[in-house]
């Protein structure tokens, strides 16, 4: 599903004329098979979030290649990557990243609108997806009217609504209490089993990382070979 080859990245710091380079990732290579749950674990500043942002196309690598579903996404233009994300990749963020002026229903419906799906069909899919995350009674609630766990469920519903084969999750339980965290992790495993969705989870929490079939550890931008859990 994902193949990363010799990925290197560095950030430019400072102003023009006085720039310094901060290396973040060094020659990172790994692959994720379809249907796997792979956790990437590392300390804060180890480069794990940068890795996810590179795979998600939010930043461009300095060198190396990224393949998703056998397509070299690292060579995509911004527009091509946006279309690719819409059709093949779902995202779950630590802070949920819901649009506050939209209801739960509207947030989940958004990817369908972007894809140009007709209104009736949208309604059916959105309602089904909200039901799947047990939020059918919260259609008209704004994010501010939902608990953290409910907001994350809306975020998962939005990631699921277009049936992507891959979901990238960045600290998905970072803003949740331990009870809600457990529920969410079980739900991720359930989705993986039932829908065969591949998950790539970035976390600093070992408990979260353990739901993966494989754990990859990153230290100071270097990949430490991850084994099967």
């Amino acid at each position: 599903m994902i193949t990363v080859k010799h990925l290197t990245h560095e950030f430019e710091l400072g102003k023009k004329g006085d720039k310094t380079l901060l290396p973040v990732l060094h020659d990172v290579s790994f692959s994720v098979d379809a249907g796997e749950i792979v956790s990437i674990i590392g300390r804060s500043g180890s480069g794990k979030s940068t890795l996810l942002n590179l795979i998600g196309g939010f930043i461009r690598p300095k060198s190396g290649q990224i393949f998703i579903k056998d397509q070299e996404v690292s060579s995509f233009s911004e527009g091509q990557f946006a279309d690719f994300r819409l059709n093949h990749v779902g995202f779950i963020f630590q802070n949920f990243q819901l649009i506050p002026s939209m209801t739960a229903y509207q947030n989940v419906e958004l990817p369908l609108i972007l894809k140009g799906i007709k209104e009736l069909e949208r309604k059916r899919i959105t309602e089904e997806t909200l039901k799947r995350v047990s939020l059918e009674k919260f259609h008209d609630h704004y994010p501010s009217e939902l608990s953290g766990g409910q907001q994350q469920r809306v975020s998962i519903a939005r990631a699921l609504v277009l049936n992507p084969p891959l979901i990238l999750a960045d600290e998905p339980t970072g803003s949740l209490d331990s009870e809600t965290e457990t529920d969410l992790l079980e739900f991720i495993q359930q989705l993986n089993k039932e829908l065969n969705i591949t998950f790539l989870i970035i976390t600093h929490d070992e408990r979260v990382a353990k739901i993966g079939n494989r754990i990859i550890e990153i230290q100071d931008g270097h990949l430490i070979e991850g084994g099967n859990h």
Binding site: G79, A82, F84, V89, L98, L110, R158
Partner: protein, 445 residues
């Protein structure tokens, strides 16, 4: 993303900032109103001047007053034959004026009117229309102008006694009998060699009355006689055109027949312009309203373009508001835009949404501005004549339009407004596409 969904997005976003959008639409509407009202004055004056020119003259007519290739002369029969032979000429109508204003009498009423000798067949062909009666068939049959009867007054009343204290002709002295079929006596005068005035009466029958002139202010008191009758008069006065005294060699009856004016008619405006150019090049004094209209149109089109340009400046000023509103909208919505981009919104879609929003504001402003402009135009046309009359005690000509808003002006104004708003929304829209997803999601913008 479908257009309908983009439009729904735009409307939702507009609802979030009603007051700011209202103020922006207001500025845009004011700009459009200013543009339309300003240009409408140009359109109004253009229309009024054209109407005025066309009421005074016929559009498909060329007037020829003489020939001058270094030596001036009047138009003669040879010229008439030449004009008739030209391509695209429908009719040639020569006109001569009687060189005296004879006393004209019908029963106990009299007047002095201009007498014009015309070729009735040519006049009819050129489009002369009668409000009553028929065209003359005999030399002693005549046509009178539409207002001829108004000028008749009783023979036994002094002219100054005809009017009341307001200067209106007293009703009891007006001629209210039928004119058609009446015998009209023309008292033609001439001077004998000892400078004594002699007079002879020529009796003619009125057989027709011309149609009412196009403009209400125009008056036609003319008496139209045939060329044969003019010849009879000339035979009596022994001068050309019935000149009562043989003042110079030009009035010698042995001279060739000449005409004071000749009018050429054609079917199309283009032929009139071409013929006028040709005859002018051939040293004829030719004038046509078509060439005048061409010059008027050119002058007013330049003026209208100038007014539209000035009006566009107002729209441009309004566009600064749109630019500001859209820039604020992009800044405020940056986190939302970041989320949308993260879940797969194409930068093109983001740009389209913001361009649609600025166009929507512009279009709304243009439509409201157009409606207000129509209202102002109506009020100006209604109120300005009253104000001018009250302040300057001056009568505005009938049918005078100070402001006219044709469809073409609406299309131009709305077009300008839309183009300007799209341009002013383009930079913020581009800025929206360049928003960094990660920074936006961190609320770091």
């Amino acid at each position: 993303m479908k257009f309908g969904d983009q439009f729904r997005f735009v409307r939702q976003n507009i609802k979030k900032n009603k007051m700011r959008i209202f103020m922006t639409v207001l500025a845009s509407a004011m700009g459009t109103t200013f543009l339309i009202v300003l240009a409408s004055v140009g359109f109004g004056l253009h229309s009024t001047v054209l109407k005025d020119v066309m009421e005074q003259d016929l559009i498909n007519e060329i007037s020829i007053y003489g020939f001058d290739d270094g030596e001036y002369r009047l138009i003669n029969d040879q010229d008439i034959n030449y004009f008739s032979s030209l391509a695209n000429v429908r009719s040639v109508r020569p006109v001569n004026y009687l060189y005296q204003s004879p006393n004209l009498q019908i029963n106990d009423f009299q007047t002095n009117a201009e007498v014009r000798s015309v070729d009735f067949a040519a006049e009819q062909k050129a489009g002369m229309k009668l409000s009553k009666g028929d065209y003359p068939k005999k030399p002693n049959e005549v046509i009178v102008g539409y207002h001829f009867a108004e000028d008749l007054y009783p023979v036994d009343i002094e002219y100054e006694d005809l009017f009341d204290e307001n200067g209106e002709q007293l009703e009891k002295y007006t001629y209210d009998d039928e004119l058609i079929g009446q015998t009209l006596t023309m008292a033609i005068e001439k001077m004998d060699p000892d400078n004594n005035i002699e007079s002879e009466e020529f009796e003619v029958t009125i057989v027709g009355i011309t149609e009412k002139p196009k403009a209400d202010w125009q008056r036609n008191y003319t008496l139209y006689i045939s060329g044969d009758l003019l010849s009879q008069i000339e035979k009596y006065t022994e001068t050309l055109n019935g000149d009562p005294a043989s003042t110079d060699e030009n009035s010698d009856l042995t001279n060739e027949r000449t005409y004071s004016e000749v009018y050429i008619h054609s079917d199309s405006l283009q032929h009139i312009q071409d013929l006028t150019t040709q005859l002018t090049d051939e040293h004829y004094y030719a004038h046509s309203v078509a060439t005048e209209i061409k010059e008027i149109n050119m002058l007013f089109n330049i003026a209208k373009a100038g007014l539209i340009f000035i009006g566009t400046i107002a729209v441009l000023i309004a566009s600064i508001g749109i630019y500001n509103t859209m820039t604020m909208a992009v800044t405020e919505r940056a986190p939302d835009i970041g989320i949308m981009k993260a879940i797969g919104a194409n930068p093109k879609t983001i740009k389209q949404i913001f361009l649609l929003e600025s166009s929507y504001i512009g279009l709304l402003g243009a439509l409201i501005g157009t409606a207000v402009a129509y209202l102002i135009s109506f009020v100006v046309n209604l109120g300005l004549p009253l104000i001018l009359e009250a302040v300057f005690d001056d009568q505005i000509p009938e049918g005078f339009k100070f402001s006219i808003i044709p469809w073409s002006l609406i299309v131009i104004a709305v077009g300008i407004c839309l183009v300007v708003t799209i341009i002013s929304g383009a930079r913020p829209a581009k800025k929206a596409t360049q928003i960094d997803v990660l920074k936006a999601m961190r609320r770091d913008l």
